[in-house]
Every structure is written in structure tokens, then in C-alpha cells.
Symmetry: C2
Subunit: 194 residues, 2 copies
DNA sequence: CCAAATTCCAACTCGCTGGTTGGAGTTTGG
DNA sequence: CCAAACTCCAACCAGCGAGTTGGAATTTGG
């Protein structure tokens, strides 16, 4: 039987996504990741170097997935409201993503994070697209593009990053469901770009 | 010399704020809290019951501080933009608050959190104030009040909850400082309530 | 076909950390 | 004034968990 090291690696990575999203870099247990992957934990040290590097690898992978799933210009420039809605949909389907992002933020503070340079380019591209749309006149230009991007990301993500707050704020609302939350988000962003 | 148990308690609580904000409930070290407070760690177990309960006590205390520092109607209803600015200022001066909030959110998930009922009332009051201002016509009424409150909180807090993202998004900006970030925030909220 | 290199695993180490304990000092109530 | 109750502390402990190791199985390259 041939070795399939790529598969073993991927098995670990996929198991680690859930573990890290749920418990964070501190709370995650190396043994649990290995068990869930059905692999010996020593593999983690051979392939990734350690728990922290595995966390970095997980983050990089998930970042790429998001970038692929909600592409740069899928209506972004033309209609940021709908783009925000798509980001919301992605978060709904993959709730671990925002969690990973926040674990990273809480842990790293002002330190550089994994793949920071590449990720910065990614955002710069989006800002450029928004700038172009403003010049073309398909988008209101009252809000500077970087700030607009910031707003979209923050508004789409906050529901998931502090669910307890979202719950309390919406406690009085007539009905509070993912659907109405998405509508609220789109409404907010549309208003910003009116 | 008389015992001053209240002071000892407070010493621990204050030391714990920093420790929990920086490292989270998992990463926080009981010994470090005790050392910083200049108190024996056994006191934590007598006064609070354990690490987790201490975390709850810290959260409750800081929540009250924020509520006191950025009062309900200090210009909120009349000018949500400026209110958002004040929240931003508070976060700048007390960066541990947002961090605590997010650690709570990441840990609790969909479970009830400490003092949830009281906190919900707190937000309901704010929503009511916004509703009144909309009825009075001092505030645009395109955005439902709860959603507006959500937006203010999310936009003011995101800078601090994922500093790595904020850094990357703003990487291309002419200058990126607390001052310009605050201005961006106010601009965004003003646009929402125009 | 054999030897070097690589993958895999069970078992181990060992420092760390939350929590405990026993007792000494201090206050309080009667 | 004395005994019960409470505050405080140094030392202790048990188990958990990241990382290691030694060697067996498997592959590869010559």
C-alpha cells in the first residue's frame, strides 16, 4: 500500500479547522486534532512543525477558500450591498471563518500575522475595484473606498463575532432570523453607498 | 491591622482584567493574576470560586464601567455619529474591553452569558432612545433603530477586534492613525443617519 | 535486490497549571 | 478574655498536554 502523505496532511488540516475554530489556538488540543483526523499526532510536528504553525496553515487555507468562494468582482463594485449579502451567506455557511479570524486577531495583537503581505494585496485589489466604480459613477463617492470596504466587512462579520451582543440588541425586534439579519445588512450597506 | 477584604477582592479583579483581556480565559494564568495583585492565589478560589467565575466577575465589572463612561443619552439620540466617536474613544482608552467581549463571544457561542437579561435591557433602552429621536424627526428614519445601534457598535468595535484586518485594509491609505479612523467612523455613521 | 530515506506509530517525558491543604495569624461575639 | 470563625499564605499535588523518541513498516533510488 502506497503512502498518501498529501491526504494525511489534508486530513489533519481539515480536522484542525474545526478544532481551532471552536477552541482557539490556546484551547485546541493537539491530541484531539490527531484523533479526529485518524492520524498519529506526531505527524503534526513532522508536517507543520507544531501547534502554532498548524494554526497558521489552517488560517491560510481558509482565507484562500473565502477568496475563492466570494470572488473579487462578483458584483462587488456595482452593488456592494449584494456583495455584503454574499459575504454574510458565506459566514452563515462557514461560521468557523470569522471565529478563526478573531482568534487570530486576539492572539496576534499588533504583531504580523501569517501571510500578511499577500492578504494586504487581496484587500488592496478590492479597494481598487471600489475606487474604479466610484470614478465610473456606478457608486456613490461620499465614502472613501477603503472605509467602505471596512464597513462591509465589519457589518457582515459582527453578527458572528459576538453572537451574544447580536442576540441582545435584536431581542426586542419583531422577528430575528438569519434572513432578517441579512436584509438589515444589505439595507445598511445600500444606505452607505446611496 | 484590620483585614480589608473588599480591597483584596478589588485588587484581584483589577489584575484579572488585564490578564484576561490579554490572554483570554484559556491563556490567563491564575498565578499571574495573583502575583500582579500581590495576593495569594488561593484567595481567588475563596472569593470567586475559580478561574471561570473570576472571568465572569471581570466581565460584569467592565460592562458596568462602559455603561457608566458612555452614558445612554449623551448625544446618542441627537447625533449617533458623535456617539459612535465617543464609543471609539472609550475603546481607544480601554482596549481590553472589546477583547473581553470577543473572548466571551468566542467562548460562549449560543449559550447564555453572564448577566444577559440586564444587558439586554441596557440595549433596549438605547434602541428606545433612537426610536424616539426618529419619531421626533431629529434623526433619519430609513434605518430601523436596532439595526442602527448594531451598525454603530460593529463599526466602532471592528477596528479593535481584528486589528490585523484593519491594518491590511488601511495599508494603502494616505495616513492611517487613530484620528483618521475615528473620522472614518463618524463619517460612516453620519451617512447612515442622513 | 538491497540500502538509504521516509512515513508512521505507541509509548514516553516533563514542565506547567488549576486547584487543594494544613496551619498560623487575626478578628469578632459573647 | 477566650473560642469560633475568618483571612491569609507557602507548599504541595495530580493530571493534562505539547512535544520527543526509538524503532517498525514502507518506499525509493541505484
Amino acid at each position: 500500500m502506497a503512502w498518501d502523505t498529501a491526504k494525511t496532511r489534508q486530513l489533519l488540516l481539515d480536522a484542525a479547522v474545526g478544532e481551532f475554530a471552536e477552541h482557539g489556538p490556546q484551547g485546541a488540543r493537539v491530541d484531539r486534532v490527531a484523533a479526529k483526523a485518524g492520524v498519529n499526532k506526531e505527524r503534526i510536528y513532522q508536517y507543520f512543525g507544531g501547534k502554532q504553525q498548524l494554526f497558521g496553515a489552517v488560517l491560510t487555507q481558509e482565507l484562500e477558500k473565502l477568496a475563492a468562494a466570494v470572488p473579487l468582482d462578483a458584483g462587488l463594485a456595482a452593488d456592494p450591498g449584494e456583495y455584503a449579502g454574499r459575504v454574510f451567506d458565506y459566514h452563515s455557511a462557514h461560521p468557523h471563518f470569522v471565529r478563526l479570524l478573531h482568534w487570530e486577531g486576539l492572539q496576534a495583537g499588533d504583531d504580523q500575522v501569517a501571510a500578511e503581505a499577500q492578504r494586504a494585496v487581496h484587500y488592496a485589489d478590492k479597494v481598487a475595484a471600489l475606487t474604479a466604480a466610484q470614478h465610473a459613477g456606478t457608486l456613490g463617492d461620499e465614502i472613501p473606498p477603503a472605509e467602505l470596504l471596512y464597513a462591509v466587512i465589519a457589518l457582515a462579520g459582527w453578527w458572528f463575532s459576538t453572537p451574544q451582543l447580536a442576540r441582545m440588541i435584536m431581542a426586542g425586534a419583531a422577528d430575528d432570523s438569519p434572513r432578517t439579519r441579512r436584509e438589515a445588512l444589505v439595507r445598511l450597506v445600500r444606505k452607505l453607498t446611496a
